[in-house]
Every structure is written in structure tokens, then in C-alpha cells.
């Protein structure tokens, strides 16, 4: 039984419960913040008539985009048949669902009338990509549940590949839908572009994989279960490619806008003199969120170190949040052009850059989206057998054997297997 | 063209009322009936827009129906409008002014408090009578 991976629930440990309670508290704080905003109305937030989607949307969109990307790891195993990724698949599906739930919770709690959620479930306008997304999101959760079932129950194991394939296609469509929320906004130069959808897909790959690596390492290492260097290096390199991919799409989008005279002013704002948005883009997304992680992921000296890879993944997540912030808030801060060629002014802030500063309740609600997602993950791995007992290289893939025969962490568990 | 409608619509109403009354009668003590707190008196000398048992049971559906007609089709005959309910059902407080929906004396609140329903209508709609248009044309014929 040497090279058979077994799946176990997570053991009781003070550490686990401490983290669990932390997420619980953060989620509760988020709910409290949402209640506060709901009770008073949105005037207690930084949002205004000019910036109507604020920080909660940044977190919600990030989480929903990352949710679809978190399924990557599973897809690579089941759809593309890469054996080393197979034992990683159950957590991948769980994380995808959890992130989606966290994101949707934030989105719904930030509605002007969250009490009318029933209306959103019963009244549909099928010309609206939002309405389609309601189906895409709930459908994705159903597909994920089916997928998890086929992976955890031996009796239906045979179906896991086709269901995994459906999941793969579904999440591509889902992220196309999320990107199109912005891509279809004909009246705003910052968004109105077909590239929004593929750009969001590229971002989903990178954000989702980063969060996956973080979760996987935290759970495995935190529970003293071995993880192979080679496996981590592989995933790091894959994430590096995804990061490059999203950087590429973002670059093409900006270049296209710079080329057109109509959108040049917009680009000058975002890339040169947009203050916080410019800094978040160059320092946050490009340098810290893309370049530094890529170096960490591709350099052989760092891509085997769990802490360096984790650092890189954290940077990808923070950089991603920065980029979504620039897209959503920066895109609204730029004045809408009603009269090209005219300088405009009005009591309604026509022609002037909109002011926005996040308020505490917004930030707390946003963070609680992560907390809720991780709470779901923690619950999942506690009650169901999502996590392999070991991801030591020789176990995961026979090819790794020659290259690296030492797997770090959890020596006890490894000794047991050997 | 109105003539034709004029003949049929009372007939249709009558049939509808009978059918609905029967249906209502068949439903064992539904909404409203068993809830009979001290409902404030309406304006004297007039009757409600429909018989009281019908009103108790069906005012929510009537209002919803009227709401959709007004919003989407611009049909503004006043009879069943929410605005007009207030014309007859406004209640005066101790200070002699009409009470708003914040007060539990408000006509619409007396039963709802007992029935534990909390419709949000008056977060937008005015809960007191009135409603002269603010902007009046000085030259009516313009």
C-alpha cells in the first residue's frame, strides 16, 4: 500500500479550532457591518452617485473570479489527465464552491434592498447578464456538489471525469459572464470592451490557483501531512504562467485604449496621474502582484521553498485585489464622457474625477467574504475526507521519485506510509 | 369605444366579485377575518371600495394589481389607488394631525401588527392624505 493515497478528515487540534473561531468572528463582523450599512443606507459608505460599486464589489468580484479559477487544479487532473493533480482535486472543488459562496454573500449583502433577494430569484430579465449570472452561479454550485460527490464516493467514481469536464466548461462560461458584467457597459469607456471576458478568465486562473496553493499548504502543513517539493515547484511554475497570462491581457487592454484617441485620457488617468489608482496598478498589481511572484515562482532557488511560494501566492492575491480595485473603482472615478471635445462641469460632478475612500464597514464586509469562504473550507475538510494523508512526491507521481526523494514536513505520517 | 366597455365591465366585476367571494368563503378563516382589532373608522358616510370582508382578505392583491397597472401601463383611475386609501382611512393623532405609518395607530398598522406582517409600502409611499402637485402651471391652458 505504499503508493496509495488515502484521504482523511482533519484532526482536532487547538490550532484548527482557533482558526475556525477566527473565521467565524470575522464573518460575524462582516454581517454586522452589512447590517449597519443596510440599516442606515449607503450614505455611511464611501460610495456615491459617481462610484456606486465600492469596496464590497471589489471583494465580491475578486472572490467570484477566484472561485472559478480555484477549480483549475481539479480540471488539470480530471480533464487534462495529469496524474499528480488528481489527489489535489477534492479540495479544489471545495475551495471553488466556498469562494463563490463568500463572494455571493458579499454581493448580496451590499444590495440596496437585500431583503428583496426573493425578487431576484423570481423576476428575471434575460437580456441582463446579471440575471444569467444568477443561474451560472447557482448552477456552478450544483455542478461542484455533484463533482465532489463523484470524487468522494467510490460507487460513483466513474462519473468524476465527465462531471469534472462539465465543471470545467461551466466555470469558463461563468467567468465569461462575470467579465461581461463590465464588458457590456457600453456607456463607460473604462469597461466597454470584449476583452473583459477573456481577461477575467486569465485572472481567474491566477487568483484561484494562488488561493488554492495557500489553502492546500496551510491545511497539509498545518496538520503535519507531508507535501513534496517537486509538486509545489510545479504548481508554483504553473501559477507563474497564469500570472503572466493575466498580465498579458491587462497589457493588451491598456494598449488598445492608449491607441484610440477617445480613450487616451482615460489611460493617462489610470496609468499616469490617477493617484491611488496609478499606484495600485503599477506597484500593487504589476510589481508586487505579478513581477515579484513570477520571480519567486520561476527561480529554482525559491520555488521549492514553501514559504517563498506562499509569499508569492499572497502577493498574487493582494495584487489581484489591487487590480480589481483599479478596474471597478478607478473605472468609475474617471468622468463619464457625455460631450466629447467639451470641458464640462455641473452640480452633479460631471467632468470631475470622483472621490472615493473605502469606509470601514465596506472593508469589513469584504474581508468577511474571505472569512466565510475559508469557514466553508474548514468545515468541509473537518467533516468530509477531502484531504490526502500525504502529498509526498513519490506518492503523487512516480516520476518525481528520482528527482527528489525527500518530502518535507510530517515525518511521522511519512514513516507510517513507508 | 368606451360604450362597449361600459356595458361589460360592471357585469364582469359582478361575476368576479361573486367568484372571488365564493373562493374566499371556501378558504377556512384566512387572512384578515380572524384578525379584528379595533380598526380605526374611515371617513363617515362612505363605503370602502369593495365590501369589507373582501377588503380584509384581498387588499394586498388589489394593491399589487393596481400597482402594476399604474407603473407599467399608466392606468391611473383613482378608485383602487393606494394614494386614495389614505383619503378615507387617514387617522388623526392626539395633536390633531394625521398620523404617519410610524404610528401604530395608522390604519394600515392596526391589523398588520397583530398579523405580524410588515409591508414596506410606506418607506416610499406617503402615509398621510394630500398631494397637490407642487408645480402648477400658471396658465392652465399652456
Amino acid at each position: 500500500m505504499t503508493n496509495r493515497i488515502r484521504y482523511h478528515t482533519i484532526d482536532n487540534s487547538p490550532g484548527f479550532w482557533a482558526i475556525f473561531v477566527l473565521f467565524l468572528i470575522l464573518s460575524a463582523i462582516g454581517l454586522g457591518a452589512a447590517f449597519y450599512m443596510e440599516h442606515h443606507g449607503h450614505w455611511v459608505t464611501g460610495m456615491s452617485q459617481n462610484v456606486v460599486w465600492g469596496t464590497p464589489h471589489v471583494f465580491a468580484v475578486f472572490l467570484i473570479v477566484a472561485a472559478s479559477g480555484a477549480l483549475n487544479t481539479a480540471s488539470i487532473g480530471s480533464v487534462f489527465g495529469r496524474k499528480p493533480y488528481k489527489p489535489l482535486a477534492p479540495l479544489s472543488a471545495l475551495l471553488a464552491g466556498a469562494l463563490l459562496i463568500g463572494g455571493l454573500a458579499v454581493l448580496v449583502l451590499d444590495l440596496g434592498r437585500p431583503d428583496r433577494l426573493v425578487i431576484a430569484m423570481t423576476h428575471y430579465n434575460f437580456r441582463s447578464i446579471f440575471a444569467w449570472n444568477i443561474f451560472l452561479y447557482t448552477g456552478f454550485l450544483v455542478v461542484l456538489l455533484a463533482y465532489i460527490w463523484t470524487m468522494l464516493d467510490r460507487n460513483v467514481k466513474a462519473y468524476s471525469t465527465p462531471v469534472g469536464f462539465i465543471g470545467f466548461l461551466w466555470r469558463l462560461v461563468l467567468t465569461t459572464g462575470t467579465g461581461s458584467i463590465f464588458g457590456f457597459l457600453v456607456g463607460r469607456a473604462a469597461y466597454d470592451a470584449a476583452i473583459m471576458a477573456p481577461m477575467f478568465i486569465a485572472m481567474s486562473f491566477s487568483f484561484g490557483t494562488a488561493l488554492y496553493i495557500l489553502c492546500m499548504l496551510a491545511i497539509m502543513v498545518g496538520n503535519g501531512r507531508p507535501v513534496g517539493d517537486e509538486l509545489v515547484a510545479r504548481m508554483a511554475k504553473l501559477l507563474g504562467v497564469f500570472v503572466a497570462g493575466s498580465l498579458f491581457f491587462v497589457a493588451v487592454h491598456h494598449l488598445t485604449n492608449i491607441y484610440g484617441p477617445e480613450t487616451r485620457g482615460l489611460e493617462a488617468f489610470l496609468l499616469l496621474d490617477g493617484g491611488i489608482y496609478t499606484s495600485l496598478f503599477w506597484l500593487g498589481f504589476v510589481l508586487l502582484g505579478s513581477v515579484v511572484p513570477m520571480v519567486l515562482f520561476f527561480h529554482p532557488a525559491t520555488n521549492r521553498s514553501f514559504s517563498m511560494v506562499s509569499l508569492g501566492a499572497v502577493l498574487v492575491v493582494l495584487g489581484g485585489l489591487a487590480e480589481i480595485y483599479v478596474i471597478i473603482i478607478g473605472g468609475q472615478a474617471v468622468p463619464q464622457v457625455l460631450f466629447p471635445g467639451y470641458e464640462v462641469s455641473s452640480s452633479f460632478f460631471d467632468g470631475s474625477v470622483a472621490y472615493y475612500a473605502p469606509s470601514w464597514p465596506e472593508v469589513l464586509l469584504g474581508i468577511s467574504g474571505f472569512a466565510m469562504a475559508f469557514l466553508v473550507v474548514a468545515l468541509g475538510v473537518k467533516v468530509l475526507r477531502f484531504m490526502p494523508h500525504s502529498l509526498a512526491d513519490p506518492l503523487v507521481d512516480a516520476h518525481f521519485k528520482g528527482k527528489a526523494d525527500k518530502a518535507r514536513g510530517g515525518d511521522a505520517a511519512q514513516a507510517q506510509t513507508a | 369605444m368606451t360604450g362597449k366597455r361600459g356595458i361589460t365591465s360592471p357585469l364582469r366585476t359582478a361575476i368576479a366579485v361573486v367568484v372571488l367571494a365564493l373562493a374566499a368563503g371556501a378558504t377556512p378563516a384566512a387572512a384578515g377575518d380572524d384578525i379584528a382589532p379595533d380598526v380605526p373608522e374611515a371617513r363617515k358616510g362612505e363605503h370602502c371600495v369593495k365590501p369589507v370582508p373582501y377588503m380584509r382578505r384581498n387588499h394586498m392583491d388589489m394593491l399589487k394589481h393596481k400597482r402594476d397597472k399604474t407603473m407599467h401601463k399608466g392606468q391611473r383611475k383613482k378608485k383602487y389607488s393606494l394614494k386614495r386609501c389614505m383619503d378615507c382611512h387617514a387617522v388623526k393623532g392626539d395633536d390633531g394631525d394625521f398620523v404617519t405609518a410610524k404610528s401604530d395607530k395608522h390604519f394600515c398598522n392596526v391589523c398588520h401588527d397583530t398579523a405580524a406582517v410588515n409591508p414596506d409600502c410606506f418607506s416610499c409611499h406617503a402615509s398621510t392624505p394630500g398631494g397637490e402637485l407642487k408645480v402648477q402651471s400658471k396658465e392652465a391652458s399652456r
Binding site: 442606515h40 443606507g41 449607503h42 450614505w43 456615491s48 452617485q49 459617481n50 456606486v52 444590495l111 440596496g112 434592498r113 437585500p114 428583496r116 433577494l117 425578487i119 431576484a120 423576476h123 428575471y124 430579465n125 437580456r127 441582463s128 447578464i129 446579471f130 440575471a131 457597459l185 457600453v186 456607456g187 463607460r188 457625455l338 460631450f339 471635445g341 467639451y342 464640462v344 462641469s345 455641473s346 452633479f348 460631471d350 | 366597455r5 360592471p10 397597472k69 407603473m71 407599467h72 401601463k73 399608466g74 392606468q75 391611473r76 383611475k77 383602487y80 418607506s123 416610499c124 409611499h125 406617503a126 398631494g131 402637485l133 407642487k134 408645480v135 402651471s137 400658471k138 396658465e139 392652465a140
Partner: protein, 258 residues
């Protein structure tokens, strides 16, 4: 149920119009009732459903609209009970207050030519806000007026994102003492209704009335489908345009002199 929706066939409505015009022309006493209704285009019985026979619109002559005059804006706020930006008696910051209509000052970047004009919901024939609304709360009436059915609005604000004219607002706080004919409430989207509550009673929108009586008479309201109407005549005889005409939204609000 007594007020069963009455379906106009085009022929019927046409006939009604001809008959009405004839009668109105013949009977002097009739004008007492018809006065405002006539001026507003076609009369609609209170209980008649709106139909696409009519297409309400406003023509703004920017050449006549003086910088600094805010008669239309004041009238709108007055009529609709929009206190915030005028009185500042609420919690919201100025950039959180609703403004259903605003005066925009323009200056041509090359020539320096300056002008001013009011901007409100443009009541598009192809309204982006209606397309994006997930619940169908944003909708267009048969007669071209774009509204928010605030009974099914969930406050997602996607319509505000989608509007090319910055004309939709979001209500940031609880509102009190609303005008009985104009309900408004926290957490929902709102915007210019072209004064449907007046139009359905055969009156002109508040902004247009005020523009004529206190302002410079730069606004013309009417049924652009009715060739006899003043607005249709002006549209026929002048070069007019729409804001962001390139988007193809085909607004019901048209401008002269931009």
C-alpha cells in the same frame, strides 16, 4: 379587474385621435377640459393603457438655455420632493444626493464656445439600463418613458453603471415626507420619470412648465409621433441631435444647438 386592460389597435387610436382633434376644434367649451391635455399632445383616458402610438419626448434648445438659470432643476426637485441637494437637510454627502436633472455647463476645448443645458434621463428607445436590470425593474413604457419599478428593484445599481448619461441615482438613505404622488425610498434606483404622473393626467413635465414660466422657454414637450405636435414640427424644421448619439440609444430627449 373592472379596469380590464384595453388594447388599442392602431386603427382605433388613430381614429380616436382624428375624432378628438375634430371635436376639440369644433367645441369651444371643450377646451376647458382639453386645454392642458391638448397641449401635452394626445389625451389619454385615465384608465387607458399607454400605447406605442405615442412617443413622449422633450426638445431642449441649448441656444436659448442661459448659463445660471436653474428653473427646470428647481421645479423638478420641488415637484419630486428631492430635498437633499437643495436643502442639505439629510445625512448624505453632496455626491450622494439624487439629482434627477442637472444643468451642465460646456466649453468647447478648441474654440472656447460655451453653452449650458439640462441633462436628465434621456428616455432612450434602446435603454442600456433596461437591458442590464436583472429583475426587470428598469423598464420602458409603451410610450417610451423609461422608469424604475421600485417595487421590484433590489438596489444592485447595475443600471447606474450602464447609463451613458449619468442619469440614474441611488437613494442612499431613508426619505421622509415624500410627495404622495411620488414615492421614493432608500436602497432603490431612481431617476427622471418625465413626470409620468403629470403626463398621464394630460399635463406637461414640471421642468418644461417651469422653463416656460420662469426660464427662457428652451424646452418643448410633446408626442413626437404626432406630426401635428409642436415638438414634431420643431424636430422636422431644425437640425437636432442627441447626447452620445454614437451609442445608438435613440433618446427621447433631443437637443438643438450642440
Amino acid at each position: 379587474m373592472t379596469e380590464a386592460p384595453h388594447n388599442d389597435t392602431p386603427a382605433l387610436a388613430d381614429e380616436a385621435r382624428r375624432r378628438f382633434l375634430k371635436r376639440a376644434g369644433l367645441t369651444a367649451g371643450f377646451s376647458l377640459f382639453a386645454g392642458s391635455a391638448l397641449a401635452a399632445g394626445l389625451p389619454k383616458a385615465l384608465d387607458e393603457a399607454t400605447s406605442s402610438e405615442r412617443r413622449w419626448g422633450i426638445l431642449v434648445d441649448a441656444g436659448k438655455c442661459p448659463e445660471g438659470c436653474t428653473a427646470c432643476v428647481d421645479a423638478c426637485f420641488e415637484e419630486m420632493g428631492i430635498e437633499g441637494p437643495r436643502v442639505g437637510d439629510n445625512h448624505s454627502r453632496p455626491d450622494q444626493d439624487s439629482q434627477w436633472i442637472r444643468k451642465v455647463s460646456l466649453k468647447n476645448e478648441d474654440t472656447g464656445h460655451a453653452l449650458a443645458l439640462p441633462v436628465m434621463c434621456q428616455h432612450c428607445t434602446y435603454p442600456p439600463c433596461v437591458d442590464v436590470c436583472p429583475t426587470g425593474a428598469s423598464f420602458k413604457r409603451a410610450d417610451g418613458i423609461v422608469l424604475v419599478d421600485r417595487h421590484v428593484c433590489i438596489g444592485c445599481r447595475y443600471c447606474i453603471m450602464a447609463c451613458p448619461y449619468k442619469a440614474r441615482c441611488f437613494v442612499h438613505e431613508a426619505i421622509h415626507d415624500q410627495e404622495p404622488y411620488m414615492p421614493r425610498g432608500k436602497g432603490t434606483a431612481e431617476g427622471c420619470t418625465m413626470c409620468v404622473h403629470r403626463i398621464d393626467h394630460g399635463m406637461k413635465p414640471a421642468c418644461v412648465v417651469a422653463c416656460h414660466e420662469e426660464g427662457a422657454g428652451a424646452m418643448t414637450f410633446g408626442d413626437t409621433n404626432d406630426p401635428e405636435s409642436a415638438i414634431a414640427g420643431k424636430l422636422r424644421d431644425n437640425t437636432t441631435s442627441a447626447i452620445r448619439a454614437d451609442l445608438g440609444t435613440e433618446p427621447g430627449i433631443r437637443y438643438m444647438g450642440i
